[in-house]
Symmetry: C2
Subunit: 326 residues, 2 copies
């Protein structure tokens, strides 16, 4: 099943079921007006949404055209956004790039930060920044949405709480990050609003590509129309989503609608390219002594998408332009 | 005006107007079912809530008894919780206590972290922890709730976005913090759910004690019935709330209902006592060479309250017991 939130007069948008081909949609106000409403009672609501999905795929019900540019983030404002950093090649390259030490516990203790969730961007909303000198970067990621998760949940039980899977652009302002991380309290200015794919999907939509709470498909990133990376999201993922959920819930419960990202997809094999500019710059430094690729400028565009084995877009594309903030 | 969220069958509780003496309440489903609904349209809703408040204070309308133990957090789940650290005596003592360096920019660049907001505790909800060996501590704070704040707002304009003021217990798990801060991504396990005072109040309720976006009154903290601290929240506050809001909004807008704390209240004059155990322990180390005060144990209780110049409780009391998590 594929779900989107359509922009509306409400701050939380309108939940819509979208067909597999991402061409038709139907809002479902009688089942759940918003995605948060659906997550609040997922067990009760999901079967009814699935019925709509079946009818939509069969062309057996009323529908409207689905236009990704009219999609909001799944939760235009969310109660929680936690981002892990499960791809160690990314962690190693980015930490080297900013001259930071590698955590000693890298291999068995996930890195994760509490992100801002009060404003979430739709797939085609612009990335707005006050200055192009802040080092504007994209980070292409895979994430999951959970229902309610109990305090201290085990890794074994955590996988069952993965209800939806989606793509994320975790926008980063690289030049603001070293200074604020040096203060010791994590990200604040360096991680502004993130953007999300047009639809979130139930894991069964991913077929054999979803294994062991990992999504084994390439995540393609285009920057100004040129292929920038196609790293496989299932390769080199040190911590799977079940592990990340259990990590998040070590000392607290998680409320339904929690979004957990796995961090910038990255493969040790650099011929796969990159899912953020910072990594490419570091490899340039290692190979030539200097970074030649600049960060994004106003007017630049990034496109993030994942195709299934048949070449069809699973989530639709995140496609954003960088603009000066109004 | 004083507002509370009463526990109900809904995850978001029911908004209630509470009288000045904190004895009577009235829910206002026709004006705004929840506090988030009120914040989403504060300019339109506030005058109507004020009318109820006037009638309630005059004994001129129907009401129910107000029972703080039935209050939820103002937002039982919130879209954003940001906690500053505006009292430099606290920052200096805590950083010394964990052997961390003081940030160079201490005097002119606020410390602030993105906190978990998906689960917020009512004033009398227990503090639950999986282990009493995690170093369970309270942090008594003053916070504000904003309406929508524009991207990059100036300090001058930020004060007008302070709509409500409240008290916070920013529960901290001291023994989990050094390890996770060393990883560089800020707090995750060390800052579980925070608790909030029974009511949040509009700044006009604070009279002359509210000046220059600071609350100039002692914040009293009792631990197991004994006075632990009564530091003045207006003294030694390096960054006022307007400054903290502007800091938070440097690279993004803030959604209505954002909660911003000023960090553990702390005075350089240690005869005022402390608003968290960690500070008392550090002073013990400095004075005697060793900390003798232990952190909280299961069954311990903390009470956080602020009285006005007439000795009346402004916000009601946060009063929590520490319990093993279920």
């Amino acid at each position: 099943m594929k779900l989107a939130t359509l922009k509306s007069d409400s701050r939380d948008g309108s939940l819509a079921v979208v067909n597999r081909e991402l061409t038709r949609a139907q809002t479902v106000p009688d089942i759940a007006p918003t995605l948060q409403d659906a997550m609040d009672d997922w067990a009760g609501v999901e079967p009814r949404l699935q019925q709509v999905y079946q009818a939509l795929n069969a062309g057996d019900c009323e529908s409207i055209p689905f236009d990704a540019s009219q999609a909001a983030a799944p939760f235009p404002r969310a109660y929680q956004w936690l981002d892990g950093s499960a791809y160690l090649s990314h962690v190693e390259r980015v930490r080297k790039a900013r001259g930071a030490d590698l955590p000693k516990s890298l291999l068995d203790d996930p890195l994760m930060y509490q992100g801002a969730s009060d404003v979430m961007l739709g797939p085609c909303d612009p990335v707005e920044a006050a200055s192009a000198d802040w080092g504007i970067d994209f980070e292409a990621e895979v994430g999951v949405i959970t229902d309610d998760v109990e305090y201290g949940i085990s890794i074994d039980k955590a996988a069952s709480h993965i209800k939806l899977v989606l793509l994320i652009n975790d926008v980063s302002l690289r030049h603001l990050i070293p200074g604020e991380l040096a203060k010791g309290f994590g990200f604040l200015h360096g991680k502004p609003a993130s953007a999300f794919s047009p639809v979130a999907v139930t894991p069964d939509e991913l077929g054999a590509a979803w294994q062991d709470s990992r999504l084994h498909l390439p995540l393609t990133v285009h920057w100004n129309g040129r292929l920038f990376g196609e790293a496989n999201a299932g390769t080199d993922m040190q911590f799977n989503f079940a592990r990340l959920i259990a990590h998040a819930a070590k000392s607290r419960k998680l409320t339904a609608g929690t979004i957990i990202g796995a961090g910038t997809v990255s493969n040790y094999d650099s011929t796969a390219g990159y899912a953020c500019i910072a990594e490419k710059r570091l490899v340039e430094i290692l190979e030539t002594g200097a970074a030649v690729t600049e960060f994004m400028r106003f007017g630049d565009r990034v496109r993030i998408e994942m195709l299934n084995q048949e070449g069809q877009s699973i989530f639709g594309a995140i496609e954003q332009e960088v603009r000066p903030c109004r």
